[in-house]
Assembly symmetry: C2
Homo-oligomer: 127 residues x 2
DNA sequence: GGGAGCACATGAGCTA
DNA sequence: TAGCTCATGTGCTCCC
C-alpha cells in the first residue's frame, strides 16, 4: 500500500466521521429544542392552573403561599373535587326549588294564571 | 524531603480524594432519589387529574384519546373554567327561583300559611 | 453543608 | 426513518 492511498483513506474516513458527527449534532440540537418546547408547554399549563385556584387555597396562613408545581397540582385536584360536589349540591337545590314551584303553581292554577316559569332547569354537567 | 514523606503525602492525598469522591457520590445518589420522588409525585397528580376529566373530554372522536401530560393539563384547565361558569349559572338560577318563591309566598301570605322554605341558599364558592 | 425545587440535555421507546 | 413523549441524572440556585 502506498502512503498516498493511506492518506486518502484517512481523509475520506475523517470527512465521513465529520459528516456523521455533524448530523448527530444537528439531530441532538433539534431534539433539545423540541423537548424544551414540550417542557415549556407543560409548565405553562401548570402555571395556568395556579392562577385558577381560589383565594382560599392560594392564601397560606402566615404569609405567601408557596406555589411550586407539586402544590399547584395537588390543590387543583382538590379544587376540582370540591367543585364537583358543589355542582351536585346546586343541582339538587335547583331540583327542590323547581319541585316546590311546580306544586305552588298547581295549587294556584284553578283561578290564577301561571306567573312563573315551570320549565325544568337542565344545565351543563361538566363533571 | 525524604521519599517517605512524599509517599505519606501521596497516601494522604489519595485517601482525601477517595473521601471526597465518596462524599460526592453519596450526595449525588441522595439527590437523585429525592428528585425521583418529586417527579413521581408530580406525575401522580397529573395522572389523578386525568381520571377527574369528564367522559366528554377524554373521549376523542375516532378512537382512543391520547392522554399525555400536556393534554391532561390543557383539558384540566378547560374543565375548571367550564365548571366555574356552570357554578355561576347555577347560583344565578337558584337566586331566581328563590326570588320567585318568595314573591309567591308573599302573595299567598294573606290567608294561607307558608308552605315552603324561604331561606336563601348560600353555598360554597370554590371558584 | 445539606435539602428542595427547577431547567436542561440525553437516551429509550412508541407510532405513523 | 422522523417525530413525539417520557424518565433519568445532573448542575444551579435558594433557603435553612
Amino acid at each position: 500500500m502506498s502512503q498516498e492511498t493511506g492518506d486518502e483513506d484517512d481523509f475520506a474516513a475523517q470527512a465521513n466521521l465529520q459528516a456523521i458527527m455533524e448530523k448527530r449534532r444537528r439531530r441532538r440540537e433539534s431534539h433539545n429544542a423540541v423537548e424544551r418546547r414540550r417542557r415549556d408547554n407543560i409548565n405553562d399549563r401548570i402555571q395556568e392552573l395556579g392562577t385558577l385556584l381560589p383565594e382560599s387555597m392560594t392564601a397560606e396562613e402566615g404569609g405567601v403561599a408557596r406555589l411550586n408545581k407539586g402544590t399547584i397540582l395537588r390543590k387543583s385536584v382538590e379544587q376540582i373535587r370540591m367543585m364537583q360536589k358543589d355542582l351536585r349540591d346546586y343541582q339538587q337545590r335547583v331540583r327542590e326549588l323547581e319541585e316546590t314551584l311546580n306544586q305552588l303553581n298547581h295549587q294556584n292554577s284553578s283561578r290564577r294564571a301561571r306567573n312563573t316559569t315551570t320549565t325544568t332547569t337542565r344545565m351543563q354537567q361538566h363533571v
